[in-house]
């Protein structure tokens, strides 16, 4: 009985907190205005991360050093059931578009909250991707999430949540500035759906999945008016000081459709959390073979028929995947908490809190046909290991990485944190044949207001 009383209270707290302007703030803002009748709430805030990293790699050096890895300023406004939020990055001295959206809670009750949201913000997807990096328990999201989960897009969603369920789904544009060279924009349909069999003040257990369908229409003119669409999957080595993506990077020309499914699970108690996700993506490709074949006709060396041309220009779908498991134990501090509105674990922000965390992640951006041999001198695959001058291959390799991370995080209060990590990563990438073992030590000082 007690449980059933507490849970609606949590939900009510999520709905009607007088101290937060809500929307998507990392902390309870220090600079805010709240009208007497609480119908108008406004705040401004910001955050900054300074990271230090030392790297050791087998062959290709990574650049140890220090960097301001994030700097942002934001403004939020709540007017009745409307919430407006905008934040902008200016890290590295460059302006970057971050969140910019409006949300309307059109139905609020203790049975749940229904809202619609429109603008530029994270597509509903992996819980890791949805979590603000300030509230993350590691310095970066797992590489698999960086590579395979969507980021922000321009679109609209409908969301419902209560103490048992969380549904969030919407439609998004392929690009935010319509800046493609050719073609009209594609779209994506995304959603995240959770069930929370356990959800009280001290515990949460939830599981569910997210899914995403993408259609790529925007691209470039390849030749003779043939439109080439393209998609890139990439991640850094789970570090931002050297955020080079060369080790984990895959370009898939002619991509036309992609489907991603991400099962997830989270368990939280006051002192412990565990969460895991698996991300699977399949990319289908489409190319105007007939037109490309016809455009090459007319020479002595021309392919003489379409099947021959297609045999020499192989194209097949590509499958990628990745996953992670994250664990945390709160040594000092009050308790881990849970964000009902977004279905996420909150960050550690208690005064003088200390936690130890561990993560295993793997990222597989490799789709190599069995038996293929790769020659790094000319960056070609040779089917069945046969060395010829014109190999016709369809293998791709963007790298496979397994990484183990151990971290120790301390928060002076919710506004200032220090985070430290050691990470070992094992890489396999045909383009980097001698790069296998990566060690890195990282330290972050972060503040938000």
């Amino acid at each position: 009985m007690k449980k059933h009383i507490i849970v609606p209270a949590l939900l009510a707290a999520a709905m009607f907190s007088a101290n937060t302007v809500k929307a998507q703030e990392d902390v309870n803002p220090l600079l805010k205005y709240i009208s007497k009748d609480e119908t108008v709430k406004a705040s401004i805030g910001g955050r900054m991360y300074a990271d230090f990293a030392y790297y050791h790699s087998d062959w290709t050096p990574m650049k140890s050093g220090a960097a301001i890895t994030d700097a942002r300023i934001h403004a939020a406004l709540t007017y009745g059931k409307f919430q407006l939020y905008a934040d902008f990055g200016f890290g590295k001295g460059k302006f970057s578009q971050k969140n910019l959206f409006v949300q309307y809670n059109f139905k609020e009750s203790l049975k749940g909250i229904h809202s619609v949201k429109a603008g530029y913000y994270n597509e509903p997807s992996s819980m890791s991707a949805m979590t603000s990096t300030y509230n993350y328990h590691f310095l970066t999201r797992p590489a698999a999430v960086q590579a395979l989960a969507p980021g922000r897009s321009l679109g609209a969603t409908y969301r419902f949540f209560n103490d048992k369920f969380f549904f969030d789904q919407g439609i998004f544009a392929q690009m935010k500035y319509n800046e493609q060279d050719a073609g009209y924009q594609g779209l994506s349909l995304s959603g995240r759906w959770l069930y929370k069999p356990v959800n009280d003040v001290h515990h949460t257990f939830q599981f569910g999945l997210s899914a995403r369908y993408q259609r790529f229409n925007a691209g470039t003119v390849y030749a003779d008016g043939v439109l080439q669409t393209d998609v890139n999957y990439f991640a850094n080595m789970q570090s931002y000081v050297d955020e080079d993506i060369e080790f984990l990077s895959l370009d898939l020309p002619w991509s036309k459709d992609a489907f991603t499914i991400t099962p997830e699970a989270l368990f939280r108690s006051d002192r412990f959390f565990a969460r895991a996700e698996y991300i699977w993506t399949r990319v289908w490709k489409e190319r105007d073979d007939q037109r490309l074949f016809e455009s090459q006709l007319g020479g002595q060396q021309s392919w003489q028929n379409l099947p021959g041309w297609q045999g020499g220009n192989k194209l097949r779908s590509t499958t990628l995947n990745g996953g992670y498991l994250e664990l945390g134990y709160l040594i000092c501090g009050n308790a881990y908490t849970y964000d009902q509105e977004y279905g996420l674990l909150r960050g550690m922000g208690d005064k003088n809190a200390l936690e130890i965390v561990a993560r295993y992640s793997y990222t597989d951006l490799t789709d190599i046909t069995k038996g293929d041999r790769f020659l790094v001198g000319n960056n070609k695959f040779y089917p069945n290991g046969q060395i010829v001058d014109y190999p016709y291959w369809s293998s791709v390799d963007g790298g496979t990485m397994h990484a183990v991370t151990l971290g120790l995080n301390y928060s002076f209060n919710q506004y200032i944190k220090v985070m430290g990590e050691y990470q070992y990563a094992n890489l396999k990438n045909v383009y980097f044949p001698d790069d296998q073992n990566f060690h890195q030590l990282q330290l972050r000082v972060a503040f938000a207001f």
Partner: protein, 528 residues
């Protein structure tokens, strides 16, 4: 306590956050070149590698500077100049004659535009089938129809060798802006032809072409020259007879026909054996003496032959070359090995490489041909894997130590003994693929380095260590950064090596004073 520790950590972090790391050292090419994995040649392959003399001078296409490339004139000049090897590119004619010819388009080095234009050589092909090979009209008509369908102008493999002999491979040299200063009437009055592999071998063995009206052959034995437009055979090369063999070749020029399935899927052409006459090249007007009183005439260089890209040649091309080496002048050391103790230079001062187990070196840029050479020769004949930096089908794209190593390892896997990288510098301005660290990597693999092409004194001086090339690598490297090299200027290269002490005592006995290039051409009958 925890609070203080964290404050300390944050202070350290902030301090470190503002520490510049500008001096951190990144990729060190020299260190990477030393630690990258390299496979090594087996002891057996190293023995074959050592069939070839160190610092051998390879006369690139005979010479492209002093005479029309890959012709009798160029090869005779290079031989008498004292080159250790005569270099050639191999292609095939439509009727299976192995050519020593570089370009895949006949327009640059022949007068094909004047002789055939871009028309199918209908009359010549009919004469070839009906008169020279003796086919009846019906068969000739069938073959002509097929040939007409497959014909692509200017491709060497589109033409029979009979037709290729109609082309003048010498006069273009006298008209080309790049070589007009070296023009000689003798390149026209002594007609120059597209050479064959057999010709090349004969030149290396001290022969020249026998010519009608000059060597006791009064007229064409097989109505060869007279059959073409009533042309007089005088001073043309002697063709004793033509024989159709039982062999066939899958001529790549016929591939489109096969795809059309118009001719029953047959893409084969019969191989025709041309029997030529050659004469010993011992009747030069001026026979000069070298320092110890011996004549220059009599050098026997080896040959350094390149398999061109496989898509231009039949799939059996490497086997065809294997067979021809076995049939002509005992050039196949697998079939007829030489004694191990035959010297590279004779006691009386002649180049003798052509009589040793190093008499033939094979070479290719093609990865596919590399594997086929391995299949046919199994590392028992010296073999060089050539490198070019670019984005073409056979090129090295990535010239980092790892990329370079991958091609060396491929060469070791397929039993090549030498790497042949291009070098930078005028006049060719090729990409640089012969840095000292790259030369060192080749040696780490127990291979040797045969770079190309050394066409200026500057290039010689640079890679032989006169210009401190490689000093930035500290004590790691030691010049010269070559083990043998290709040159279009055998005269300049030999003189440089003699002047700077890079010829061994044995080699110096051959030449202490390099012949004058122009005078030698005069002596060979190529008058200005």
């Amino acid at each position: 306590m925890i609070n203080k520790s964290m404050l300390l950590a944050m202070t350290c972090g902030l301090t470190l956050s503002f520490v510049s790391c500008e001096n951190q050292k990144f990729n060190d090419t020299y260190a990477d070149a030393e630690r990258v994995h390299l496979d090594t040649l087996s002891a057996e392959l190293q023995k074959v590698r050592d069939y070839v003399p160190d610092l051998a001078v390879v006369a690139h296409r005979g010479t492209t500077y002093w005479a029309p490339e890959e012709t009798e004139a160029a090869y005779r000049w290079a031989r008498e100049m004292g080159a250790d090897y005569l270099e050639a590119d191999l292609q095939v004619s439509k009727d299976g004659v192995i050519l020593a010819l570089h370009d895949t388009d006949l327009k640059r080095t022949t007068n094909i535009e004047d002789v055939f234009g871009e028309r199918f050589p209908e009359n010549e092909r009919r004469y070839y089938y009906e008169t020279l090979l003796g086919y009846d009209k019906e068969k000739a008509d069938d073959l002509l129809a097929r040939d007409r369908d497959a014909f692509v102008p200017n491709y060497p493999c589109s033409y029979t060798y009979y037709e290729l002999l109609m082309l003048d491979a010498g006069s273009w040299f006298n008209q080309d802006a790049a070589s007009i200063e070296q023009a000689r009437e003798g390149f026209v009055s002594n007609p120059q032809y597209i050479s064959t592999l057999e010709d090349l071998i004969k030149y290396s063995k001290g022969y020249r072409l026998a010519r009608y009206g000059k060597d006791g052959y009064t007229e064409s034995n097989v109505n060869f020259w007279n059959g073409w437009n009533g042309k007089n055979s005088n001073n043309h090369r002697v063709v004793l007879r033509l024989e159709e063999t039982k062999d066939t070749i899958n001529n790549p020029i016929n591939y489109p026909i096969k795809l059309k399935e118009k001719w029953g899927g047959s893409i084969s052409d019969p191989v025709v054996n041309y029997v030529f006459a050659y004469e010993q090249d011992d009747d030069l007007e001026v026979v000069r003496e070298n320092w110890n009183g011996n004549t220059y005439v009599g050098n026997t260089p080896g040959i350094y032959i390149e398999f061109k890209e496989p898509w231009l040649n039949p799939s059996t091309f490497e086997k065809m070359v294997y067979n021809e080496l076995a049939e002509v002048e005992h050039m196949n050391i697998i079939e007829e090995p030489c004694a191990d103790n035959v010297p590279f230079y004779t006691a009386d001062g002649h180049v003798n490489v052509g009589n040793t187990n190093g008499k033939v070196i094979l070479q290719t840029f093609s990865l596919q041909s590399l594997t086929r050479v391995c299949d046919n020769f199994n590392g028992q004949v010296p073999m060089c894997f050539l490198l070019w930096l670019g984005t073409g089908a056979t090129d090295l794209h990535n010239d980092s130590p790892q990329g370079y190593a991958s091609f060396i390892n491929l060469a070791v896997e397929f039993k090549a003994h030498f790497i042949g990288p291009c070098i930078a510098g005028a006049p060719n301005n090729y990409p640089e693929m012969n840095y000292p660290w790259q030369h060192d990597m080749i040696h780490r693999a127990k291979m040797k380095n045969h770079p190309y092409s050394f066409d200026s004194y500057d290039q010689m001086a640079k890679y032989f260590g006169l210009y401190n090339w490689g000093n930035e690598g500290g004590t790691r490297y030691e010049a010269p950064y070559v083990d043998a090299f290709f040159t279009n200027h055998t005269d300049m290269s030999l003189q440089f090596m003699i002047d700077h002490g890079f010829r061994t005592e044995e080699q110096v006995n051959v030449i202490r004073e390099v012949p004058n290039a122009r005078q030698l051409l005069e002596d060979l009958g190529y008058t200005k």
